[in-house]
């Protein structure tokens, strides 16, 4: 399978000597859906800014679809890598939602007929058709978030990165985001999500990368990583609630590697049956 993003021994600092990324190595294949977790200050946002060229490595390299980012501008990389920022208010400015969605496409120089078609598609996808002529600034918080996402999906990048999409969202909104991620993944997009929402990751991802203090402390299967007490404590995260329960009941025979509700229910039921001698 082709490689979407390849990071080799990446080092980065904002202020000379104070390294924020200390030797990052990772590979994301085409079509993968990965979560990047870690505390605030672990370097997650700094890392993803390297993927669309906003930041360039001080040491090491970052390759997107085989091309080294050092020689590419943000505008060039942005066609391939869409980055949805955490706060939609950092980008909304247009007079209408349509204009907002068209912005990136126009920057990339697409002809108007294609722009119109893609805008229609994005409006429908994110359920924004009834707002098309309204100013994005006048919409509610949740609606603004949808516009921000739509404006990135609009130009159909191969790789889409979400920076903390679940902060401040209610349960229903989180479900919708999860649905969107799954849909994008089904379409063959490479999806990367930066988050510290452990429950969200446990529910929706297969692969997770955990960062702490500028380094990667774990990279692998969600179950293996999130049920590992060492990884959890090193990265200052909290385990999923189900996992924590499993850990607390390890001594009575519950497997400590659980992450789903159904698994815990099954284990406890099994335990009771055993006790009863069935």
């Amino acid at each position: 399978m082709a490689v979407a993003i390849e990071v080799n021994d990446l080092y980065f600092y904002y202020e000379r000597g104070k390294y924020v990324l200390k030797g990052i190595n990772l590979t994301v294949r085409d079509g993968e859906m990965v979560a990047i977790m870690g505390n605030n200050g672990a370097g997650k946002t700094t890392l993803i800014k390297h993927f669309n060229g906003l930041l360039k490595p001080i040491r090491g390299s970052v390759k997107v679809k085989g091309r080294d980012t050092k020689g590419l501008s943000v505008a060039e990389l942005a066609r391939t890598v869409g980055l949805v920022f955490q706060n939609p208010d950092h980008q909304l400015f247009a007079e209408t939602v349509e204009e907002e969605l068209a912005f990136a496409l126009r920057n990339f120089g697409y002809p108007e007929d294609i722009v119109k078609r893609r805008v229609e598609w994005a409006l429908t996808l994110m359920d924004l058709r009834k707002y098309r002529h309204r100013s994005p600034l006048s919409l509610s918080g949740g609606e603004r978030k949808r516009v921000a996402i739509a404006s990135v999906l609009c130009y159909d990048p191969e790789i889409i990165i979400f920076d903390e999409p679940t902060i401040g969202q209610d349960y229903y909104q989180k479900q919708k985001i999860a649905q969107l991620l799954r849909m994008l993944s089904r379409q063959g997009k490479t999806v990367i999500v930066v988050t510290h929402d452990v429950e969200f990751v446990a529910e929706n991802f297969e692969r997770v990368i955990v960062m702490a203090d500028g380094k990667i402390v774990a990279d692998g299967n969600v179950r293996e990583v999130l049920t590992d007490p060492e990884v959890i404590s090193k990265s200052n995260l909290l385990p999923p609630q189900v996992t924590h329960c499993a850990w607390l009941l390890k001594d009575v025979g519950i497997s400590p590697k659980l992450i789903k509700v159904s698994e815990l229910v099954k284990e406890i039921t099994r335990l009771f049956h055993e006790h009863k001698g069935i």
Binding site: N40, G168, D170, Y171, V242, C245, L249, V261, S262, F272
Partner: protein, 295 residues
């Protein structure tokens, strides 16, 4: 309406409806609540259900700061908020907001804690005493000369809470204080709020989405939808109610486990609100499985 000088309740919300100026829809629809002193109330609900609006009626921001049309009344220890501005109520009701950036104004923790007291025009000696108390009580002595931007998100919210508590309010309202925090910091803040409630007897009103962290200390859970109170009562009853299920709120996983175990015929002694409670319940059941396991 008779004005009650002293009241049994810390907070009384009476037939409250409110719509913001220039809007058609009511943000709050005939809300009625009575909260006693010392309670720890968690309010949750989908976005737009009126939780934040309700918070702002408790300290007078509505109707004095946010204009609109208000019907009904809110009484804090018997005093109507219609008659008192927010800064007058600040000695009774303190409020902590979601973003620490917007509620930390000064360049050192010490000054920040003193700020509210300075605003109230209190004597310097008293201010010094309260600042000392707050620094000690919230374990911020080591950080007292640090600037807010040098602190982590969790520490910033801690300072915000300390700065509000320095004014010794009897009620503390917190509007999604952990939204921007990572899980560990959120956990610590919730524990801190619990301490404020338990050790200082302060009435806590906490608006939260993260119920798996916030519920375990609550004495009461209120569900809101479209400006109305849908359910209000004991957290364990409310979280397992059918309203909770249909509302689309983040029901803690341990509660889901409890419900599914019940379907399997295993009934834990108590609806768990934390992983510790679940583990305890399972152990208890195993020990006496004969009586609680219905095969």
């Amino acid at each position: 309406m008779r004005t009650v000088l002293k009241s049994n309740y810390a907070i009384e919300v009476i037939n409250l409806s409110f719509k913001y100026e220039g809007t058609e829809e009511y943000a709050l629809n005939n809300v009625n609540l009575r909260i006693k002193e010392g309670e720890y109330v968690v309010i949750t609900g989908p976005s737009g259900s009126g939780k934040s609006t309700l918070c702002r009626t408790l300290n007078g921001l509505i109707p004095h700061f946010y204009r609109g049309h208000m019907e009904g009344d809110i009484r804090i220890f018997g005093i109507s908020t219609r008659a008192k501005r927010t800064h007058e109520l600040a000695r009774l009701v303190g409020m902590v907001f979601q973003e620490s950036e917007n509620q930390l104004f000064l360049s050192s923790v010490e000054r920040e804690i003193a700020f509210g007291l300075e605003n109230l025009g209190l004597p310097r000696d008293y201010i010094r005493k309260r600042v000392k108390w707050a620094l000690r009580n919230f374990k911020l002595e080591g950080l007292k000369d640090k600037a807010p931007y040098e602190l982590s998100g969790g520490q910033q919210q801690k300072v915000a809470i300390a700065s509000v508590m320095a004014m010794s309010p009897r009620i503390l309202v917190l509007d999604e204080p952990t939204s921007n925090l990572d899980p560990l910091s959120a956990f610590e803040i919730i524990a801190l709020i619990h301490q404020v409630n338990k050790a200082m007897g302060v009435t806590v009103i906490l608006v939260e989405h993260r119920l798996e962290l916030a519920l375990k200390y609550a004495t009461r859970l209120i569900l809101m939808k479209e400006g109305r109170v849908i359910t209000d009562g004991d957290p364990r009853e409310v979280i397992t109610s059918k309203e909770a299920r249909s509302l689309g709120i983040g029901i803690p996983k341990v509660v889901e486990v409890y419900k599914r175990l019940k379907e399997e015929g295993i009934e834990l002694p108590r609806i768990p609100l934390s992983s510790e409670e679940l583990a305890l319940g399972v152990r208890g059941c195993l020990a006496t499985y004969g009586s609680s396991y219905r095969g």
